[in-house]
Structures are given as C-alpha cells and as structure tokens.
Symmetry: C2
Subunit: 162 residues, 2 copies
C-alpha cells in the first residue's frame, strides 16, 4: 500500500472477503491474502475510517420476520423543485418499510424498494406515502415473485477509486 487514500490489491482482497462474511477471523483473512493478522486489522480499520466500509451488518431474511413481500415502486412527482424533492427524499427515507430509495433519471423520479407483511399493509402504505402526498403524480407497482439475487455486494476486482 503506497499512499494513504488508495486501495491496493490487499485491501480489495480483504473487502471481497468481508463483503461475503465479516465474521471471518482476521487470522483466516491473513492466510487467504498472505498478510499477518495485525496487518489485516490495520487495513480494515483504515478502510472503516476512510468510509470504504460503511457498516457491518447482519442480513435478515425478510420472510422469517414477517415481511414476505418485496415490492418495487416507481414514483413520478408533479414538481421537481428542489425543496419538494428534498421533502420527498426525507419522507421516503423515514419509513422503515422503505428499504431502499433512489432518486433517478428516466421515466420515473424515485424508485423504492419496500418490504411488507401483507398486500393490505402495502395498500395502507401507498395511501400514506402517495395518495396523501400532493406532489406524487403517479406510481407503478412491481411485486417481486422471486428474489433472485439480493445483496449490496460491490465488485472490487480491478479498479480503485474515490
């Protein structure tokens, strides 16, 4: 590792492991990447401080905790005035059932990923988030029949950046 804010091959190899299982002992990581455990620990700490590693979390099966339904929603707004967009962002982000929210270009303005227990819950949510929101022009719903691949893993193979 040369200068302070770049990621070298060791860092990326460590990230690849941690993105799959961050309970892997540092000793095992060290063996996998040919580094000592302290070296691994220092690199992990540095990447956490740099914000490369944003969080360490447990991934929970939604169905096992009573949220078997995953839904995508495309939301189109009436006005894209900055303050209204910011209000929408805050409003969506504050809802626990809204797992992900992106502000996007294209034929929609927002895309939401929502998890709910029942379609009745979803309907109640649409009422609260969309029908009672004057700035929502329309929205389209896509119900997930199969969560084919779900994760937040990012390829770390080649490039480094930021």
């Amino acid at each position: 590792m040369s200068v302070s804010s770049e990621l070298d091959a060791f860092d990326r190899a460590i990230l690849a492991i941690l993105q799959k299982d961050n309970s892997t002992p540092q000793r095992a990581i060290g063996e996998a990447v040919n580094l000592s455990a302290p070296a691994v620990q220092r690199r992990i700490k540095r990447m956490e401080e740099m914000g490369v590693i944003r969080a360490n979390v447990a991934l929970v099966d939604p169905a096992k905790v009573g949220h078997p339904i995953t839904i995508f929603v495309e939301v189109e707004v009436e006005s894209e005035r900055a303050e209204l967009i910011d209000a929408a962002k805050c409003g969506f982000a504050a809802v626990p059932e809204v797992q992900q929210c992106y502000y996007v270009t294209g034929e929609a303005d927002f895309i939401l990923v929502v998890t709910v227990a029942t379609m009745a819950d979803y309907e109640a949510l649409t009422r609260r988030l969309f029908f009672e929101n004057n700035n929502v022009k329309r929205f389209r719903t896509f119900v997930a029949m199969d969560r084919v691949k779900v994760g937040l893993e990012v390829p770390v193979g080649e490039r480094a950046g930021g």
Copy 2:
C-alpha cells in the same frame, strides 16, 4: 422464549441491533436488551441456524471502490416459458455487476440493480446481457442520481428491555 421456531421480543431486539451493527459486543447487546451475554450468543446462534440471519457482511461504498454509478433496469422478456425464465435468472445472477435481481409482476418481468464504473461499462453490459439475449424484448434504464436510502434492513417491530 417459548417454542423453538418463533421469535420473541428478545430475538427481535437483538436483530434490530445486529442489522445496524453486527460488531456490537454481545455484552453490550445483553445490556441493551436485559439479557446475559451467553443468552445473547445462544439466540444469535439459533437465529443463524434457523436462517433468520442469512449472512454477516460488510457494506462497502460503491463509489469508493470505483463503481460510482448505480442503475436500475426493467427487463421485459419475449417468452415466459419456465426454462427461459430460469435461464434468465441464472444469467443475471451470475454477473457481479448485478447487485440485485428480482423476478416481478407488472409491466416488467425483471428488475435489476447494477453498479458500474462508467456509462461505457454499462453500455457494454447491456450489449452482453440484453442485446445478445434473444429472449429480452426490451429494457428501460434508470440512472440513480442520489442513493437516498440504501440498505437491506427489515423492520422487526418489537423491543425488549431498556
């Protein structure tokens, strides 16, 4: 905790913590939920065995590892014959840049979440995944301007202790 396959308020409180930070010491979790460390450890282990906790992972900032662009893609297929759908699922899931893939109802058949380094990379990916795939009728692209809320946290709804 009564019978073995249900989640009680303690389990849910533990899950809520682990979904935010799974490096929280079990002693600290125990204090937060009014349980001893061994009790916390046993519950975590049980939930991992039950599949409630699917994985423990580090969340990486895509921009910091050279994937600053997040894109949503709605994919519509020509034929929904089971074998073709399965082939599409496998094909999409195998691509590292495809972070999430859902098979959905509605005006599209698949929704993908993709992370790439550049739009040129995305164009190359569309060529490979869509234009060269005879079963893809059309697709629509939504480029994320703001990752307002990104996570896989599921509401667990209960609390214990204090």
